[in-house]
Symmetry: C2
Subunit: 155 residues, 2 copies
Amino acid sequence: MRWDELDKEACSVARTVSVIGDRWTLLVLRECFLRVRRFEEFQTRLGITRHLLADRLRKLVKAGVLQKVAYQDRPKRYEYRLTDRGLDLHPLMMAIVHWGDTHMAGRRGRPLLHRHKACGQDFDPVTVCSQCGEPVDARGVHVHPGPGAPRMARA
Amino acid sequence: MRWDELDKEACSVARTVSVIGDRWTLLVLRECFLRVRRFEEFQTRLGITRHLLADRLRKLVKAGVLQKVAYQDRPKRYEYRLTDRGLDLHPLMMAIVHWGDTHMAGRRGRPLLHRHKACGQDFDPVTVCSQCGEPVDARGVHVHPGPGAPRMARA
DNA sequence: GTCGTGGGTTCCAATTTGGAACTTGCTTCA
DNA sequence: TGAAGCAAGTTCCAAATTGGAACCCACGAC
């Protein structure tokens, strides 16, 4: 299986991974959520090679996660902003950060804190069930085939 | 920056990405959550080369996400199971699946459904604030440096 | 003793990365 | 008028990683 076949799999994990399943892409997205928008700034902050950065930004734009917005003419200059589709990756980012905070934090504690503007407090993300509102964990979930399952449903 | 420097960054995203920020690793984990445990079964289901599979499983074991458990002697055979640390990746997996379901589903709909055993209904994961219990989205969160921030706090 | 099975390892070619220099359009400063 | 700077890329090449396929080993079954 190659990158370009991945998004054709009948699996939402595979399809999401085809967009974000890459080290640099995830780090670029981290910066996007920290309000970084310009090529040079991504490059300096991440230490990624310009070549790869251009490639990853291009792919994210093609995937509809970022959009190029001109912020000046003569010479034309663009910046990259999260689209609504990109903003929807927020729970995924929070889940990544939270796992890192929980399992990989150094002895000095977590590098960043997240404050919920609505209640004013620093918080952790909690995943709950959309139906009953109770927290969900791995053992409390049963997976079964949906309408888009391949004929030989996996699992 | 190279793979082996990534886990030293003072950033929970970078540190998590150093463990799971790889296409095959995420697909291996998908299978783990679908109760796949054995080398051959991973290999057949994923179409990954045996070489890479061995490498990714080794790395996941080293990261404490999976553990090797002997399921027979003579000849010794092992299977790979999620540890508690691995099970904690469940919200992350759910977030990946949910984004794919929302933004990448084919016209036939989502491939898999998730049933919450506690309430018996198919559900979507919702990310809420651990303090007030209300849903959280990108625009409602303010990020600020925590105790583990580098001296020049990023953002 | 030959076949099958599970869990790997080895080898090599093809692809992807990393690093550094070069390009393009336009502005500013001397 | 010319030199220098800036943002956003692109080009080139060496080094690392992947994909594909074959090979290995311990055992058990036929």
